[in-house]
């Protein structure tokens, strides 16, 4: 019997939350009370391999136990309070590079998913290297073993950026390179692909060592290939890295100096300027945060103040638009605009079916309505049964107060 016996009582005792009169248990904690080591079947298998043969052969009589890196996760609960131990990978067998968008020097959730995908490709032996343009924070916890910060490109100059990334990737000699399939990431991936003359597998929805899968031909078929050099990862398709933080050791690559732009006529981009979206005027279908007024509101001036104070885009129910109280283009619903907002804040809207169709794509809904049984209250993540007419001034007061405190 190689398998140790479990001690349920001790396991239970180890997850009891201390200092409470009534026994409470934290069942999310790992059951380490029995001291049972976690098995790593893959490592065991690798240990059984007979060395020095081209065709894999295994000696099954051996039982090898690896108390290798991963098992450090299985620490007693008490140690979790201390900063988690950073995982160090000294000599990765190969590298999987990730080129994130990292807007504003922070990883987006899509970037983290790409790192998760890279982690999956790297497996146990490989390392994940992140290649950022400009400094970027929090890459270690997201799963990067190596970090290669490149000098950021000034202004909008995709050609130089491509040249710089392509040169770094060549120097890095990564086995796989992953990009997020986002506006910038997808663009960069394709530019790098044509620059390097490599095929790129775009919009992968499944990333695994045995194959990448993407939809094609109008989502009628899916295509599977073995991971090549370049790939982009679809949003919300692969889980983020969930393990302990990694080292993110700084790398420097020789010959990092960007090769001069290969274009014969480099100054073809005369100027480039960002035009930020103004929440007050952005088309409703593109708005991120919509505050919407319904029939339960009578004071639309206060409503407009609330919208402005929350930096949101104004919306309205059909009744208000029909009555001419709000412009027609603000109408939310099946016959108005169908939203793709992150958050929808409904004031005094009961939620007719046609209206709810318009907010079906919204991730979060906040509703204020006097009717407890309104459909919008049912739909909302935060539902407040109260007259929106009295909540609006309270919101304004609170926002003003906060602004005053911070001034």
């Amino acid at each position: 019997m190689t398998r140790p016996r479990r001690d349920p009582r001790a396991e239970r005792a180890s997850i009891q939350v201390a200092g409470e009169a009534r026994p409470r248990f934290d069942r999310t904690a790992r059951r380490t009370g029995s001291g049972r080591p976690r098995r790593d079947p893959r490592a065991e298998r690798a240990g059984q391999r007979v060395a020095g043969e081209s065709r894999p052969r295994y000696d099954l009589s051996q039982t090898v136990r690896f108390d290798a890196a991963v098992i450090t996760e299985a620490q007693p609960k008490t140690a979790a309070v201390a900063p988690p131990k950073i995982l160090v990978l000294e000599n990765p067998a190969f590298l999987v590079a990730v080129v994130p968008d990292a807007p504003g020097g922070r990883l987006s959730s899509h970037d983290r998913q790409v790192l998760g995908a890279a982690r999956a490709l790297a497996g146990r032996e490989g390392g994940v290297a992140i290649l950022t343009l400009g400094p970027c924070e929090g890459v270690g916890p997201a799963g990067a073993d190596r970090c290669l910060p490149l000098e950021a490109v000034e202004g909008y100059d995709p050609a130089s950026q491509t040249a710089r990334v392509a040169a770094a990737l060549t120097a890095l000699a990564a086995r796989h390179v992953l990009f997020p399939e986002s506006l910038d990431g997808g663009d960069l991936a394709r530019r790098v692909a044509v620059r390097l003359g490599e095929p790129v597998f775009t919009n992968a929805e499944v990333v695994a060592a045995n194959g990448l899968v993407r939809p094609a031909k109008g989502r009628r078929v899916e295509q599977r290939v073995a991971p090549g050099m370049l790939a982009t990862v679809a949003p919300d398709a692969v889980a983020e890295y969930g393990g302990p933080p990694r080292e993110a050791r700084l790398l420097s690559v020789d010959g990092e100096a960007p090769t001069p732009s290969p274009q014969k006529n480099p100054k073809r981009i005369v100027s480039a300027a960002r035009v930020p979206a103004d929440p007050a005027t952005v088309p409703l279908a593109l708005a991120e945060f919509v505050v919407s007024a319904g029939n339960g509101l009578t004071d639309l001036d206060t409503f407009r103040q609330v919208v402005a104070a929350l930096h949101a885009t104004p919306g309205a129910s059909r009744v208000l638009c029909d009555a001419g109280l709000m412009p027609r283009h603000t109408q939310v619903g099946a016959s108005g605009t169908v939203l793709a907002a992150t958050c929808y804040f409904a004031l005094g809207i009961s939620g007719a079916p046609q209206h709810l169709q318009g907010v079906a794509g919204c991730e979060h809904v906040v509703a204020v309505n006097t009717d407890l049984h309104a459909a919008m209250i049912e739909r909302a993540g935060l539902a407040i049964v109260q007259d929106a007419q009295v909540v609006m001034p309270a919101l304004l007061r609170l926002l003003e107060q906060e602004a005053g405190e911070n001034a």
Binding site: R318, D322, S335, A352, Q354
Partner: protein
């Protein structure tokens, strides 16, 4: 008495002169119709049937306004009789027969009374729906001609001469020649053009007692598609617009006009009339709501539609194609045909659909459903209900056409009720399931004839694969397309609306509903069932069979008001001051009924969408199912 001898010649001569002037004026106008395209007209048949068409069909419409009916009978009858009698007096034997002149005087006297009736509608204040302008002079011309004629005839009858005779004759001449002059541009044009229009009517089937309401298919290989300018209409359509007498009955009936959308059917027809000739006097009726006053270019080759042309595109897209204007028009003008013809040009040649309608029409063309939903999802509403599919059965007695309403959550309830009723009655039926495409009704009303014809061909090919006796559908729009418009595309089927079919089942004893006297119901007629197909009785008979207390709205049956859901109006979504369904629900509320019974998915959706309503919206099938379940 020598002075009298010329008078007996001069007076009839005046009428002959009037006739000649009217003919000249009429021909000047008629020359303009020649720019129109050729059209097949059964002249002899039309001429033979003119009296019947006028006395029966026109009178049937005119008689809805009792005052106007009496007024017209007196003034038109008197005018015609007096003028013909006078004209005959050109023959000396008649001219010398004094009692004859008493008869003439009597006819002129009747005309004079009628003229006063005409005047009473306009003075001291004009009825709101009537046009002003040249129509305001009409009573004076009539009175002058009638009074002058009466006086002259009496002078002749009594044989009195002197200074009175020239005076009376001058009065009659002023009025009479004035009337004749008005045949070109004025009110009297309706008489000449109207009579000719009845002979050469583009839809002669209307006079045969059947609802001739199918849109005529467009030849997609024609060099120009639809109507862009007056010359693109056929000549008898141009003639028909000239028959318009600006009575304004259409604008009272028009739901878009009532809702303050920029459409006034009278103004639309008058714009088509005015577009033909720069000499046409200014329009003097109610304008398009919204106060737009653009005049635009005129002429047979001038574009009619545009932001700066006579007719704004919004006017065109406001129409719900409900045919209320056509139903009310005493001159039998086909407004909806004109609207669709103009829309065809906008859509097919210019791609100028209203922005919001582009999506649904594109989806219809590309995927066979205006919402772009998978065709296989059409039967999702029946999850858990056993729904036989034609592809598995090969045939059934009844083919149940589901229509677009099947995708709608609310309407799915009505269809489930219908399916349970069919099961209860043991009907052998099946649906097409994923093979059913939209009938193309929406595309056709919005002018996209190409998409309609493509969908019709596909549906006809699908239907040809299966064996069935009849098609039953709960959607009057599908019913109209399949019954009346597919035959021109080569598909002939026997159709029954679900209300008619349920009535059959009740009468055959296959459904035994209990009576529900506690329900107070008012029935809203769908335009495409009542006006387009003339079916107003079956739904009411079903309601009576379940014994509800039924009340009628002020506008019901073939004269019912539209819910606003037809003709692509909901997808075009032209803004107005009010919404059509709100107006209709207010009319329903006047009856005090707790339930508004409907028989159409569009009506259900439009009336359900009215906020703050107190009445419930229930399909007839739902009410019948309730009664049948109560009867178990």
């Amino acid at each position: 008495m020598t002075s009298l001898m010329p008078l007996t010649t001069v007076f009839p001569g005046l009428v002959w002169l009037m006739a000649a002037l009217a003919l000249v004026q009429g021909l000047r106008r008629a020359a303009l119709w020649r720019v129109g395209a050729a059209a097949p007209v059964a002249w002899l048949d039309g001429l033979a049937k003119l009296p019947k068409r006028y006395l029966v069909d026109v009178h049937h419409v005119v008689a809805r306004d009792a005052y106007a009916s009496r007024m017209h009978a007196v003034v038109a009858g008197g005018l015609l009789a007096a003028s013909i009698l006078t004209a005959l007096a050109i023959l000396p034997p008649i001219a010398g027969f004094r009692p004859y002149w008493f008869v003439v005087a009597l006819a002129f006297g009747v005309t004079a009374v009628g003229s006063l009736l005409v005047g009473a509608r306009r003075y001291p204040s004009k009825q709101k729906r009537l046009s002003a302008g040249r129509f305001q002079i009409l009573p004076f011309l009539l009175v002058a001609y009638a009074v002058g004629g009466t006086a002259t005839a009496l002078l002749l009858a009594f044989g009195i001469g002197g200074v009175f005779a020239p005076l009376a004759l001058a009065l009659a001449a002023a009025g009479g020649l004035g009337l004749a002059f008005e045949v070109r541009h004025g009110p009297m044009r309706h008489a000449a053009a109207g009579a000719l229009h009845l002979v050469a009517h583009p839809r002669p089937g209307r006079f045969e007692g059947r609802p001739d309401t199918a849109l005529q298919p467009l030849d997609l290989d024609a060099p120009r598609l639809g109507s862009e300018m007056p010359a693109d209409f056929t000549w008898n359509r141009l003639l028909s617009y000239d028959a318009c007498v600006s009575c304004g009955r259409c604008e009272i009936a028009c739901p878009a006009f009532a809702a303050g959308q920029p459409l006034n059917p009278k103004r639309l027809i008058q714009d088509l009339v005015a577009g033909l000739s720069p000499a046409e006097p200014a329009y003097a009726g109610n304008p398009y709501p919204g106060g737009r006053q653009a005049q635009g270019e005129r002429g047979a080759l001038a574009g009619l539609i545009g932001p700066d042309a006579r007719i704004h595109p919004d006017t065109l897209w406001s129409c719900t194609t409900c045919r209320a204007c056509v139903e009310e028009c005493p001159m039998m003008i086909e407004h909806v045909d004109a609207v669709v013809s103009l829309r065809r040009h906008q859509t097919l040649e210019r791609g100028a659909l209203p922005d919001k309608a582009v999506g649904p029409v594109t989806e219809l063309r590309q995927s066979g459903d205006p919402g772009g939903r998978p065709l296989s999802a059409r039967t999702d509403f029946a999850a858990g209900v056993d729904l036989p599919v034609m592809a598995e059965r090969g045939g059934a007695e009844i083919l149940l056409w589901l229509g677009e309403g099947a995708y709608d959550l609310r309407y799915g309830r009505s269809l489930r009720a219908l399916i349970r009723l069919l099961r209860e009655a043991g009907v052998d039926f099946a649906v097409l399931g994923a093979e059913e495409r939209d009938t193309g009704d929406l595309a056709r009303r919005l002018g996209d004839e190409a998409t309609f014809q493509a969908l019709a061909r596909e549906n006809i090919a699908t239907l040809a694969k299966y064996r069935f006796e009849r098609i039953v559908t709960a959607d009057p729009h599908a019913l109209h397309a399949l019954r009346n418009e597919y035959p021109a595309m080569g598909g002939r089927y026997t159709l029954a609306h679900h209300t008619a079919f349920l009535l059959e089942l009740i009468r055959a004893g296959k459904l035994n509903p209990a009576r529900l006297p506690d329900l107070s119901v008012t029935y809203h007629d769908p335009c495409y069932l009542a006006r387009y197909n003339g079916e107003t009785e079956a739904p009411r008979a079903v309601l009576d069979a379940i014994g509800v207390s039924r009340s009628e709205m002020a506008r019901s049956g073939k004269r019912a008001m539209c819910c606003g859901g037809g003709g692509g109006a909901p997808v075009s979504d032209i803004p107005g001051e009010r919404r059509i369904p709100d107006i209709r629900m207010a009319q329903a509320a006047e009856t005090g009924a707790g339930i508004v019974a409907v028989a159409c998915p569009s009506c259900t959706a439009m009336l359900e969408g009215v906020t703050g309503r107190h009445a419930e919206i229930r399909d007839i099938a739902e009410l019948l199912l309730q009664a049948v379940e109560a009867g178990r």
